[in-house]
């Protein structure tokens, strides 16, 4: 047939969209604007032709998304005084009204629209103004397929969120950090044969701080989207990521740091070790809007290839619309320094022990052991 054959990818994606829209939406789906979610899905879901999904075959995730899903309970532990309430709870309505859609744009994160329609568990966590304490909020245990966690850190409050591995299909962690508040976020992702996607979306008010330490083992398909908006002046963000992938594991990390207000500070550091036929993708974007004066932003990513067959696609992406800024970036892909291996062996370490120690040290440039590097259980 000459000429106008339909693009099979488009056909697949719109068929998927129709099937998704036919699924009975969850009662909780009013959390995100149901109409907006439906509109995003109807307009077409992402496919592998789009740049953000170039390296991750999202069709494989749709297979899971369309399968019957698991409505297990979501386990959240929190210190006293920190409110944990279901989205159905009347107390969360004012929060919804105040914060819904604040930290991410549905159009840019269409899988969040799927999450919005099929939501199994939606929980709001509210940290009161000026709250300080050692005890973290902990999200753990096997959870349901579609989750949305909204964390509001009050003015001047400071808290740690520990996110353990959990068998979700799609999870949204959305955080709004009010002026002077601080959120430290530890994400530990274990190896899994699952296909899962997640979105971490953070909105920082004036002088608020956010620190993410994410250590990831691979999955059959794992996609982590992170978007942080420095919306108030003097906000600070540190995003640190370390990963170790083996076999045919796949990890796609997409991070966007958006400087909107002046005097913002951001640091992104990524270290990865990729072996066998595994594939790691890192796209780190720094966006500096006009008017975000005196911004100081930096991104640094290094990957070690343990075998020739491993794949790494790592790139920084800069979009700068303001001249009064400092912005630096660096990306390297390499192998272990054989001089360093010899140095350690000359001190009596076996070849294997030397390589393991070097890999450990390499990953620790991004993530400390207590933040999860030790859990990457590195063996070279």
């Amino acid at each position: 047939m000459a000429g106008s054959t339909a693009d099979p990818a488009v056909a697949t994606s719109s068929a998927l969209a129709r099937r998704l829209l036919d699924i009975e939406t969850s009662d909780r789906s009013s959390w995100l604007d149901r109409a907006a979610c439906q509109a995003v899905i109807a307009r077409g879901l992402p496919d592998t032709r789009g740049e953000p999904w170039k390296y991750t075959n999202v069709n494989r995730w749709y297979d899971v998304a369309l399968a019957t899903h698991d409505p297990a309970a979501l386990g959240i532990e929190a210190p006293d005084d920190v409110l944990v309430v279901d989205f159905d709870d009347p107390r969360t309505r004012p929060l919804t009204a105040a914060h819904r859609g604040k930290a991410f744009d549905l159009e840019e994160h269409p899988l969040a629209a799927v999450n919005g329609l099929l939501l199994d568990a939606g929980m709001a966590i509210v940290v009161p103004d000026d709250w300080h304490g050692e005890a973290p909020v902990r999200i753990s245990d096997d959870g349901p397929s579609y989750q949305h966690i909204l964390l509001v850190v009050g003015r001047g409050a400071s808290i740690t969120l520990v996110e353990e591995a959990c068998g979700f299909t799609h999870r949204i962690v959305e955080a709004v950090v009010e002026p002077g508040g601080q959120l430290r976020h530890l994400r530990r992702q274990r190896p899994t044969p699952r296909r899962e996607c997640s979105l971490v979306a953070v909105h920082l008010d004036r002088d608020a701080r956010y620190e993410l330490a994410q250590s990831s083992r691979g999955a059959e398909l794992r996609r982590n989207d992170v978007v942080v908006t420095l919306a108030g002046s003097g906000a600070q963000v540190t995003v640190n990521g370390a990963w170790r992938l083996i076999d045919r594991e796949h990890l796609d990390t997409q991070v966007a740091v958006n400087h909107v207000a002046p005097q913002g500070f951001s640091r992104q550091t990524y270290r990865g070790v990729v072996a066998d036929r595994a594939r790691a993708v890192l796209n780190g974007r720094i966006h500096i809007a006009a008017g975000a004066k005196a911004t100081d932003a930096a991104l640094n990513t290094k990957n070690l290839l343990a075998t020739d067959s491993a794949e790494v696609y790592a790139k920084p992406e800069l979009e700068i619309f303001e001249s009064d800024v400092q912005c630096s970036h660096g990306a390297t892909v390499g192998t272990l320094d054989e001089e360093a291996v010899f140095y350690l062996r000359s001190r009596g370490l076996s070849d294997k022990a030397a390589r393991a120690l070097l890999v450990d040290g390499f990953l620790r440039e991004a993530i400390a052991d207590d933040e999860g590097a030790a859990r990457l259980e590195v063996v070279a």
């Binding site: 350690l344 000359s346 009596g348 022990a353 120690l357 070097l358 390499f362």
Partner: protein, 248 residues
Amino acid sequence: MSLLEVRDLHVNVDDKPILKGLDLTVEAGEVHAVMGPNGSGKSTLANVLAGRPGYDIDVGSITLDDEDLTAATPDERAHRGLFLAFQYPIEIPGVSNMEFLKAAVDAHAVHTGLSEPSAVDFIKRARATAEQLHLSADFLKRGVNEGFSGGEKKRNEILQMLLLEPRLAVLDETDSGLDIDALQVVAEGINAFRAGDNAIVLVTHYQRLLNYVVPDHVHVLIDGRIARSGDHTLAHTLEDEGYGWLDG
């Protein structure tokens, strides 16, 4: 039986002959200085003793305590008691100096059948030894050699030697780049290590260090061979007259 015996060593690097028939015998309790002009093969000798990859032994043998190490891996040589202080120590960010030192000492303990020292005992010993070398406790917490000055790196090598207590220490230009104070500290470290049951091969370009660590034997390496050997006075002759008179 000698502690170290090097016999007729021929070594190629990138197919280029560097050592061309070198013999060296070191007895327990001795300090040997190996001197020579730049490019004469001193570091090649030090590296080949430690088993650095890429240094192919064409002919010859290396024997330590009657054990043939010619084909041994670098870690096997270390377990037998061989230690090389690097001319250019490597920086390893992310691995703390303390963790590195403990890993090295533990690796030796495992191979000598001793139990690993407890963390507390080890930290005490490492701190005391660092202090002896005028290295503050901060150096033990930092990444291995990370951001150390040249002199600090060299002292860190001596720290490793003192903690590992090797049978044979080969020190490659450990004196270069040191100011006079640091040189004395390093020399004191070497003299503290010097004992009847071990031996030291000092590779150096200058005789300066030899004023503080007086060698039993001095060898001059020229174009891959030992051109002359003598006692410590040979170093002074070289200092006064240079290497030119030994050529050809």
